[in-house]
């Protein structure tokens, strides 16, 4: 028997409606954030504090993952090209292209959503369930303006810097494997890297703004819409991380396609 509870069409329909509503509400939150951004004198101290906090949270993990990412790309291209050409070729080019265009922005986004996005969702979610957001309203302060705007600006400014840093770490990782394990002279590797078109680097750099936007909007949204005590905060935090990671990976394809169409990368 099909009932309202087990009808697959109804269940699927509800899920789709729910997802559409979430997307719509996130766009509304983004618009409200932009609205308040233009009308809020920026508190430099609070902004700087947020930026340092976000950077500190992400730097150690970004360093570690990107050094190893660079190392493994160098290793794989090295041995693949030995098999084909009998000598390791184009290592610097392979490391540079993959790190600058994809690995660095995407890995940094994963780390950022896990470290910074989760913290934003948990903090705002706790404020929601303990009625601190209501308290802000009664004291004449809009929570979007007071909480979302500084986090938004800080994330948009910090994340691209982290990506540039991640690029550097990846290149260093590649350098280690190339010179120590594959025994190629460092000048060849460095020439390979510096020979890469600036557009390749810019491809990843522009993408990072989109990723930062996704992560910070999703995390603020999940925090602001938290329901139901400590358990709700846990759920909101997990949901923020998962949703931002999925949206980053999906949007990665489309943003890359657009950038390529404009001849960047």
């Amino acid at each position: 028997m099909l009932t309202n509870e087990n009808n697959p069409f109804l269940i699927a329909g509800r899920k789709i409606l729910g997802a559409a509503q979430t997307c719509g509400e996130m766009v509304v939150l983004m618009r409200r954030t932009f609205y308040w951004m233009g009308r809020t004198p920026i508190d430099r101290f609070s902004l700087f504090y947020q930026m340092v906090e976000m950077g500190n949270r992400s730097l150690p993990v970004v360093s570690l993952t990107m050094i190893f990412a660079g190392m493994v790309i160098a290793l794989q291209t090295g041995y693949s090209s030995i098999r084909v050409f009998n000598e390791p070729l184009f290592i610097g080019a392979a490391v540079g292209h993959s790190i600058f265009k994809e690995l660095s922005p995407v890995f940094t986004a994963m780390v950022f959503s896990g470290r910074v996005g989760a913290a934003i969702a948990a903090e705002l979610g706790t404020m929601k369930v303990t009625e601190q957001l209501d308290a802000l309203h009664t004291l004449g302060t809009n929570p979007v303006r007071y909480l979302a705007v500084p986090r938004f600006i800080a994330a948009i400014l910090v994340f691209p810097l982290l990506v540039v840093y991640a690029d550097l770490m990846g290149v260093i990782g590649g350098y280690i494997v190339t010179t120590v394990q594959l025994r190629i002279s460092s000048t060849v590797y460095i020439e390979d890297i510096t020979g890469i078109n600036l557009n390749v680097f810019m491809h990843g750099f522009w993408k990072s703004f989109v990723f930062a936007l996704i992560i910070v909007v999703v995390s603020c949204y999940k925090g602001f819409t938290t329901k139901g005590g400590a358990e709700g905060v846990g759920k909101a935090t997990t949901a923020a991380v998962v949703l931002s990671m999925v949206l980053v990976l999906v949007s990665d394809y489309f943003v890359s396609a657009i950038l390529v169409a404009f001849g960047i990368g």
Partner: protein, 254 residues
């Protein structure tokens, strides 16, 4: 301004299939204090939140100073909210700020007071609720009753025309709850503040109220002066104020 300062008209509110308010109507004159009593979960907090515009009713009207706040947008609502102070049931202090900054918050954001000046007023309001030397502590370092009093200090800091207290004396020792009752009376007498208080503390209710209203099954069962409530002929009201488990109010059987 003639007429009541606060008028609630046929308010309906439900969450999903759960009906909380099913036609709540009452009014309150300027300078008066109304106490709302009622069982746990009867919708007292939800009623206060609708009056300050934190929750929107499904239908009905709430007039503050003649203005229907259910028809206002976010920005117009904020202007009306500035006339009001709200004491949250669980205090809702900002845990990233110090106690002093919490109390000074509204002064800094709404009145744009200069920092030192705002903190000075904050110290003064804190001493009114019997707290001294706590300005630099974080809320997590306070006891439940202290948090409650900081919440009161924060709500009265800007001298609002209307104060909404959600269980201001719950969790305080008997002496301190009498101090808070006195403070509510003092604010009313000295500044003419209009107040709505939710409380289970009947002693405080009799002391501070001009009117007492009992909320039961989504409606105001009875509203009247403390004497009228004390001598009520309604069996439910009588049982509630007597605090008895025997009577018409449904209770779990043990």
């Amino acid at each position: 301004m003639s007429g009541p300062l606060i008028r609630v008209e046929d308010l309906h509110k439900s969450f999903g299939s759960k009906i909380v308010h099913n036609g709540v109507t009452f009014e309150l004159e300027e300078g008066q204090t109304l106490t709302i009593i009622g069982g746990s979960g009867s919708g007292k907090s939800v009623l206060l939140k609708q009056i300050i515009g934190l929750i929107r009713p499904n239908s009905g009207h709430i007039f503050i100073d003649g203005e229907d706040i259910t028809a206002l947008d976010e920005f117009e609502l904020q202007r009306v909210q500035m006339k009001m102070g709200y004491v949250f049931q669980e205090a809702a202090l900002f845990d990233s700020l110090t106690v002093g900054e919490n109390v000074a918050f509204g002064l800094r954001t709404i009145m744009e007071a200069e920092k030192q000046h705002a903190l000075k007023i904050a110290r003064q309001k804190l001493s009114m609720v019997g707290l001294q030397g706590v300005e630099n502590l974080k809320p997590s370092q306070l006891s439940g009753g202290m948090k409650k009093r900081v919440g009161i200090a924060r709500a009265i800091a800007m001298g609002p025309e209307i104060l909404l207290y959600d269980e201001p004396t719950t969790g305080l020792d008997p002496v301190m709850s009498d101090v808070v009752s006195d403070l509510i009376l003092k604010l009313k007498e000295e500044s003419g503040t209009t107040a709505i208080a939710v409380t289970h503390d009947m002693k405080s209710a009799y002391k501070i109220s001009d009117k007492i209203a009992m909320l039961f099954e989504g409606k105001i069962l009875q509203i009247g002066s403390p004497e009228e409530i004390q001598n009520s002929s309604n069996a439910i009201v009588r049982q509630f104020i007597a605090g008895s488990s025997r009577g018409p109010i449904p209770v779990p059987r043990i």
